[in-house]
């Protein structure tokens, strides 16, 4: 049986908490929420071996290109998803960039993974 894919959510907004609630009980997904710092600066990120990181673009500096670049370089091959409150959609920021308009679409993207289903290894 395949291990659940870890999804790291960073932020404290209502929108992010809702996405967390939508993903929490889905089979094959394990949700870890972090806060208090930008995702890219969170010290234990690699150790969590995430399949995806979901950030809240509305948090200060979180959605800035430099922060996203830092996150991508720390976690190569990991799906990075940004929540945009103004449009209430999630956007895939890595490779096949597209909008995700429902929790099902977010879960499917996580299941699919960034590189054809591969999850970041140790």
């Amino acid at each position: 049986m395949e291990a659940p894919r870890t999804v790291v959510l960073c932020g404290s907004s209502l929108f992010l908490a809702g996405v967390e609630a939508s993903l929490a009980n889905r089979p094959g997904i394990s949700v870890v929420k972090i806060g208090g710092a930008r995702a890219a600066e969170w010290p234990g990120l690699e150790a969590l071996r995430p399949a995806a990181v979901i950030i809240d673009a509305g948090e200060p500096d979180e959605g800035q290109p430099s922060a996203i670049d830092q996150l991508v370089s720390r976690l190569p091959g990991v799906l990075i998803v940004s929540l945009d409150l103004s449009s209430s959609v999630a956007t895939l920021l890595t490779s096949r960039r597209r909008s995700l308009c429902s929790a099902d679409e977010v879960a499917a993207a996580i299941a699919e993974g960034e590189n054809g289903g591969r999850v970041m290894g140790p």
Partner: protein, 225 residues
């Protein structure tokens, strides 16, 4: 508390529904636009409606006006990304009990939701300041025009209103005046009836605009850090 959620964005609506139900809140239904909200409100009679503004077919502002005309007891709180003054004042004029922005922290939202059950009026702090400014300077966009004169309030009612303007909760007002909390609620109900207003937010605005309560409201409405 029975809650109806209204938002046209599936990702936000589904997440919000899951979040509230996970916290034990009774979400009786959801709607994707203003017309659906009106139908759901008629059928489900929720205590509180959390309403987005920008939606297809019928906006949250229009839906609020229609729902309040039929179901005056239903509390409607706008939950929106719009910090636009026109939307804010139109919502208050339409009978909204509160106005929150979607960038609110989740923990703070649940504190405010609990406050709604106690009769408090949640307003985003940056918008509360605009309401004060608007009405303190005889603003262009009035709330429901009061037909009664301030003099028609009793001294006790004015005391209660003064403390409401200062942002005190009903419990705090009760303690300050050495009366029961239900007595405070009774006075508030009488104040609203006398002034032909619909909620605390309108009462605060009226008190400031009319000069009935002057310059005492450092933070008049439920504060949100």
């Amino acid at each position: 508390m029975r809650v109806l959620l209204v938002d046209d964005h599936p990702l936000f609506l589904e997440g919000f529904y899951n979040l509230l139900t996970a916290r034990g809140i009774d979400v009786v239904g959801t709607a994707g636009d203003g017309l659906e909200a009106l139908e759901q409100a008629r059928a489900l009679r929720p205590d509180v409606i959390l309403m987005d503004i920008q939606m297809p077919r019928c906006s949250g502002l229009e839906a609020t006006r229609l729902i309040k005309a039929e179901l005056a007891e239903t509390k409607i709180v706008m939950l929106t990304v719009s910090a636009d003054d026109e939307d804010l004042f139109a919502a208050i004029k339409g009978g909204a009990t509160g106005y929150l922005l979607k960038n609110l922290k989740a923990d703070r939202f649940f504190e405010l939701l609990a406050g709604i059950a106690r009769g408090e009026a949640p307003i985003a702090p940056e918008l509360a300041a605009r309401i004060l400014s608007e009405f303190a300077h005889g603003g262009r966009t009035a709330t429901a025009a009061p037909e009664a004169e301030p003099a028609s309030l009793t001294e006790r009612q004015i005391e209660v209103l003064r403390l409401v303007v200062q942002g005190r909760s009903y419990r705090e007002i009760a303690e300050a005046l050495f009366i029961a909390e239900r007595t405070v609620k009774y006075h508030m109900k009488e104040i609203l009836q006398t002034l032909h207003l619909q909620n605390r937010t309108q009462a605060v605005a009226y008190a400031l605009k009319s000069g009935l309560i002057a310059g005492e409201a450092a933070y008049p409405i439920t504060p949100c850090p």
